[in-house]
Subunit: 430 residues, 2 copies
């Protein structure tokens, strides 16, 4: 197998079973988005380069795949187009392009590939599918609650049963800083350190906070309260600051609107500081490290990405993460319902296959050159066929078809004209 | 609307109705391919540049979108990757990559975007979807017949009812040249001219043939016979040459194997001379200029494109052409089943929406800031909602929900707990 024949580094070919599994997953979340009244959106694979660059920071810009100018401009070595890096910048562009032609609020979902020139690694690809849903143009708490309900149903539709939606808000985080007298210039670094409480021992987090410049006693109190079993400890502290109170009220309102869903208040959860403006969430599930979905409210982002100034809230489901987990325990490949051997009488055989297909049965006809039954049965077996049809000289004379059940090995003789209904019933009852 | 906000030249954004229409079309052909036992294949958007260049001729190479090297190599202005130009080269690469891991024969379909830096124009895009199905590894006539049957069912599944599959073969074309004593070096140009009989007057075609170097009497005889109403004229001439006889036998065999399908022998139909090796076909339909599907046998192509030397036969359905025709008479946009207004009692409203969604109803909740019913009804109307729910103070007190049928304008009062079953029944019976 020549090296050159592999797909490009960081990309994947999806053969039959993979495509079917992925398409089924896409269809399952699509169905959820549709039920919630989200509209699908498909944008081009590439955008003008100026639409993309400068939106993801210097590190992000380096990961954008740039497309060379064409024709006489090719020699310039310049790029004028670039492959989309995410589905959010195209959304902002679409909101700018179509404005009032879009429903208000604009609830859209998008499931499609994005491209990043990241160093390929385990579970890290240069072409991967994102699955985003967003509500642009609503500041309502109901929109926030709807996003949480959608992510809940979406994750469940992908077959993940046990999971928690961790909820927090920017206001809670600001309140925390206020309540524990964190100097405003240390706010960002302190929150980033607190976010590590999942992975690091509390003492290490305290040490890092002190290193960041926090007073040792404040750092210790903050970590103690955040790791306390009783969530009321942190609630009581938040109640002591204006922003903390606002944040708590917002969280409690959302907990109320999502009653019945596995949503929990996670006061130390931090996400994309320069991105989110209101509620934030992460979904963690048994068997997965890290989150399998996340999102929040990002009222300034559409404008920052070149769109109009509109409030927005949304989420992203980690389809690839969930799919790669499922691939580990993937089921058997789906095969043919019926494999039709060819032992003469080709015209009748082709007609029979046409009728089986018209009846909705997944039917393959032997297309090889061997007239030997053994070889044809080997083919049928490799196709994971449920049933094999034999129509050799003896059957042709008698006007019958031999139907072999490939699971049980049993054979029955069925009149030629009754084969389609016989097999349809057999496949339906299987 | 800023110019910069438009999608890049030659590309399109697909908003809700377009996406739904396109996805429905993709699903319809996919279902046909699956019934015929074809397997789906998805390959990356880009390939190594050396995989693509040199496969489409000089003109084709110019239309390939090339991706700039990244990181320190970006300044070189060189490209190492390129967006796929069709789905055939990736197929050849996959056959080379996976070899015996693939089923034999390998029947695959692919529906996905390809990119060409063509000059954009009416119906000509730089990003468009191709829909290919191919059988690699079978030389059987049954494979040829299966491709014809598949294209028939595929085109029908896309809603095209009246169409003809024009069938020819390379051997018939060679036989024609032999029968009419066309010097071998003129073969190619003569066939290209004959292919114009669809568009040009016979006299003009004769003139062009003479210009090409054919004797005037031969040119006249050739055109007369090809345009004769009686197909037996051309059959008789073909019978006089060895290749012509072979070609006729092949065509007749396929006509036999596709009995019942609208397949007709089209002796003057020429397709991709340096490409196809056996049967060729084109599908023409009422209301379309040019073909809406085409294909043939191309036994040398997989090897020429860098794959192993394997026989192959396949076809391509002009999805974009068919879709653009349908767009002209597109139906109304699909809206919400239920629009839920918000007049207080938000927690109960959200719960009701969750239940409606769980029952499979496409449900939207008013997410705006207005408490005025008129404004909320306007929103429901813009969402093309079939039913609107009102749960204001009076309803809350009575434990009822007002259900307004947006088509008839009628309103009924339904107990809160009976709303879901009431609406499910109403939507199902609509």
């Amino acid at each position: 197998m020549a090296q050159a024949a592999e797909p490009p580094s960081g990309t994947r070919d999806f053969l039959a079973d993979d495509v079917r599994r992925r398409e089924a997953a896409f269809a399952a979340v699509r169905e959820v988005f549709e039920r919630y009244g989200f509209d699908p959106l498909v944008t081009p694979a590439f955008e003008r380069i100026e639409t993309l660059l400068g939106k993801y920071g210097d590190e992000g810009d380096k990961l954008v795949f740039k497309i060379l100018r064409r024709g006489e401009h090719e020699a310039s070595g310049e790029a004028d187009l670039a492959l989309r890096y995410d589905l959010t910048v195209p959304l902002a562009r679409v909101v700018a392009t179509y404005g009032s032609q879009l429903p208000s609020p604009y609830k859209r979902y998008a499931i499609g590939p994005v491209w990043r020139a990241d160093r390929p690694g385990k579970g890290r690809f240069r072409e991967f599918t994102q699955c985003d849903f967003d509500i642009v143009g609503s500041s309502s708490d109901l929109a926030d609650a709807e996003v949480l309900a959608t992510v809940h149903d979406g994750v469940r539709a992908l077959g993940v049963e046990e999971f928690t939606i961790e909820l927090n808000s920017r206001q809670v985080l600001f309140g925390l800083l206020q309540a524990y007298r964190v100097p405003s210039e240390l706010g960002g670094p302190v929150l980033i350190t607190l976010d590590k409480l999942d992975k690091l021992a509390p003492a290490k987090v305290v040490a890092e906070l002190v290193e960041r410049g926090l007073a040792a006693s404040d750092a210790q109190a903050l970590v103690d309260d955040l790791t306390a079993d009783d969530p009321d400890v942190i609630r009581a502290r938040l109640d002591g600051s204006e922003q903390g109170k606002q944040g708590l009220a917002q969280v409690d309102r959302l907990l109320e609107l999502t009653a019945g869903l596995p949503v929990t208040f996670a006061p130390r959860m931090v996400r994309g500081l320069d991105y989110y403006t209101g509620m934030i969430f992460e979904v963690s599930a048994a068997g997965f490290t890290g989150s399998i979905a996340s999102g929040g409210r990002y009222d300034g982002l559409v404008a920052a990405l070149g769109g109009p100034d509109m409030p927005a809230v949304g989420g992203s489901i980690g389809l690839e993460r969930i799919l790669s987990q499922q691939a580990a325990d993937a089921t058997e490949s789906s095969g043919l319902d019926v494999a039709v051997t060819v032992l003469g009488a080709e015209q009748q055989v082709v007609k029979l296959a046409a009728e089986l297909r018209a009846a909705g049965l997944r039917t393959g006809v032997y297309l090889g050159s061997s007239g030997k039954l053994a070889k044809q049965l080997k083919w049928a077996n490799a196709q994971h066929a449920s049933y094999v049809l034999l129509y050799g000289p003896a059957e042709q004379e008698a006007g019958n078809v031999t139907v072999r059940d490939m699971t049980s090995g049993e054979q029955v003789s069925v009149p030629f004209d009754g084969v389609v209904s016989h097999l349809r019933a057999a496949v339906e009852n299987a």
